[in-house]
């Protein structure tokens, strides 16, 4: 049985505009799936719909079944808040696109990491403090004491994204949803964070749903791809196959622009 089973997922606005249409995909236990498409294609909304957290004014239909070990099978679409809450964080955790805005500006970083640890693992006091230090250490941040006491604006963008990653991983989710976690970072930091992400996923045998518009980034961390265009899946398959033999013109153009970009980079760096 798959960990995440999305069938015929649609998201519509109150005024009837379809933002995601009839989307289906599955993520296996420990699998790594990429969701790729240009800006506005509905990637983030899909991620939010999976968590049952669409913004007000948007409605999901279809089926999203999360079957996390120890948490039972749950239909996420239309489920009650009280049913969803225990699954959020433990069944699936999310890392967002923009690390600065995804952290509370007025709360010290240590407390933000402690929050899910306390709720999902029931840790308190000295034990909690040790777990926070371990979580910071796990995402390879330097000076854990300073980082824990810092406010988000007092650490760098790459460090913030590591903190966000630590928060998402704190409750040890079965599925990690990463919504363009490296888009806001520069290329070298991006590579570091991606490498770390890959390691952590493999270490805990976590499944990954990786959302991005950047084919080069996605191809490094996923085994399978779903290509989204205007809220519809236009193509899906193994990442390597899609990269070498894209069938759809849209996918081909994504591959080509990624290649042109890479060639340009190579020319500059050479």
């Amino acid at each position: 049985m798959s960990l995440l089973d999305v069938t015929g997922l649609s998201v519509v606005t109150d005024s009837g505009r379809a933002l995601v249409s009839d989307l289906s995909f599955t993520v296996e236990q420990g699998g790594r799936l990429g969701l790729i498409g240009e800006s506005g294609s509905g990637k983030s909304l899909t991620a939010l719909a999976v968590m049952g957290l669409l913004p007000p004014g948007l409605t999901a239909s279809g089926s999203v079944v999360l079957d996390a070990p120890g948490l039972g099978r749950t239909e996420m679409v239309g489920a009650a808040e009280s049913r969803l809450r225990p699954l959020r964080g433990r069944g699936a955790g999310v890392v967002f696109q923009e690390p600065l805005t995804a952290l509370d500006p007025l709360m010290r970083v240590g407390r933000q990491i402690a929050e899910p640890l306390r709720r999902h693992r029931g840790l308190r006091g000295a034990e909690l403090r040790r777990a926070v230090a371990a979580a910071i250490d796990r995402v390879q941040l330097p000076e854990p004491d300073r980082i824990a006491r810092a406010f988000p604006h007092e650490i760098s963008g790459g460090q913030r994204q590591r903190v966000a990653l630590a928060m998402a991983l704190a409750a040890e989710p079965a599925l990690l949803i990463a919504d363009e976690p490296t888009t806001a970072l520069d290329v070298t930091v991006q590579a570091e964070v991606l490498g770390l992400l890959g390691e952590l996923i493999a270490e805990k045998d976590m499944a990954l749903l990786f959302v991005s518009h950047d084919l080069a980034v996605v191809s490094g961390v996923t085994d399978e791809l779903v290509v989204l265009k205007d809220g519809r899946a236009v193509e899906s398959g193994r990442t390597a196959d899609l990269l070498h033999a894209p069938r759809q013109p849209y996918t081909r153009s994504l591959v080509e622009s990624a290649r042109t970009f890479e060639n340009a980079l190579e020319r500059i760096t050479r």
Binding site: E81, R85, V94, A102, L106, E115, P116, H153, A170
Partner: protein, 281 residues
């Protein structure tokens, strides 16, 4: 290490503004406190002679009925602080509560509510105050209630906007994706992120309430005699301002000092309460 340094260096700068505000405000609080235990002369003592200039027996002189101006100014300090605090208490509690409710309400309730607020805010404070006073009677209590009610609309609108803005932030979604419950999102993220702005605004509203009470008293709609509000002192001194200006100077200066002091405190608080400003300042 750098964190320590920035947080240690910044408070020194901020405290300058805070202290600059606390000095005049503190002096006026002291005047008000002393008035509870001691006054140079009782308020109805007219033994000083009419319109005597400042001197040894009457430090600030006397008014046209021969009453001591220092005693009146001290009682006035009490009234000014009471009206500021009372109105902020009413406007703060009602405004924040309704604003929070509206911020979380569904769209229909929220739209109705903000339309209502827009009408209320367009309604001049003084006009509202006159209606309240007309419905009851001219007293300090009804003046405070009127000012507090007018303030409620302003505070509610601000609270609603702040709540909306915070709720739209990614860190709220992030907290919810990690399974945080609504009550905890509110106490842990929403309130901490809106209260610095609210506190600063309530401090500013305090100054406005003091001015509003003075205006109401000036119009004869505040505390009735012999209670000496600064506004009423100004009004009484108006007739003789060209021959004996002392009567207007003391309450005028104190009124300005209190409002300026409170505004400076608000500014100081703004920098103190926001860690992201702490660093940049």
């Amino acid at each position: 290490m750098t964190v320590k340094r920035t947080t240690r260096a910044a408070p020194r700068r901020r405290s300058v503004i805070l202290i600059a505000g606390c000095v005049p405000a503190g002096l006026i609080v002291a005047l008000a406190l002393v008035s509870f235990f001691w006054l140079p002369y009782p308020l109805d003592d007219t033994s000083g002679g009419r319109l005597s200039p400042p001197g040894a027996s009457h430090l600030l002189g006397t008014d046209k009925l021969g009453r001591d101006l220092l005693s009146q100014v001290m009682i006035g300090a009490r009234i000014a602080l009471e009206s500021g605090a009372g109105a902020v208490a009413i406007g703060g509690v009602l405004g924040v509560a309704t604003g929070l409710a509206a911020g979380f309400a569904n769209r229909w309730v929220d739209d109705t509510f903000s339309a209502l607020l827009d009408v209320l805010i367009a309604f001049p404070t003084l006009l509202l105050a006159m209606l309240v006073v007309a419905a009851q009677s001219a007293s300090l209590g009804s003046a405070i209630v009127a000012i507090g009610l007018a303030m409620t609309a302003v505070v509610a609108r601000l609270t609603r906007i702040l709540v909306k803005r915070v709720l739209a932030q990614d860190y709220i979604t992030a907290a919810r994706t990690s399974g945080t419950s609504w009550p905890r999102v509110i106490t842990g993220h929403v309130l901490p992120n809106i209260w610095p702005t609210l506190v600063v605004n309530l401090a500013l509203q305090f100054g406005l309430a003091v001015l509003a009470e003075a205006s109401l008293s000036f119009l004869g709609l505040g505390a009735p005699p012999p209670n000496a509000s600064w506004g009423r002192m100004l009004q009484e001194a108006q007739a003789t301002v060209s021959t004996a200006p002392y009567g207007a100077v003391a309450p005028g200066v104190l009124l300005v000092a209190l409002v300026v002091g409170v505004n400076l405190i608000a500014d100081g608080l703004r920098d103190t309460l926001d860690p992201t400003r702490r660093r940049s300042s």
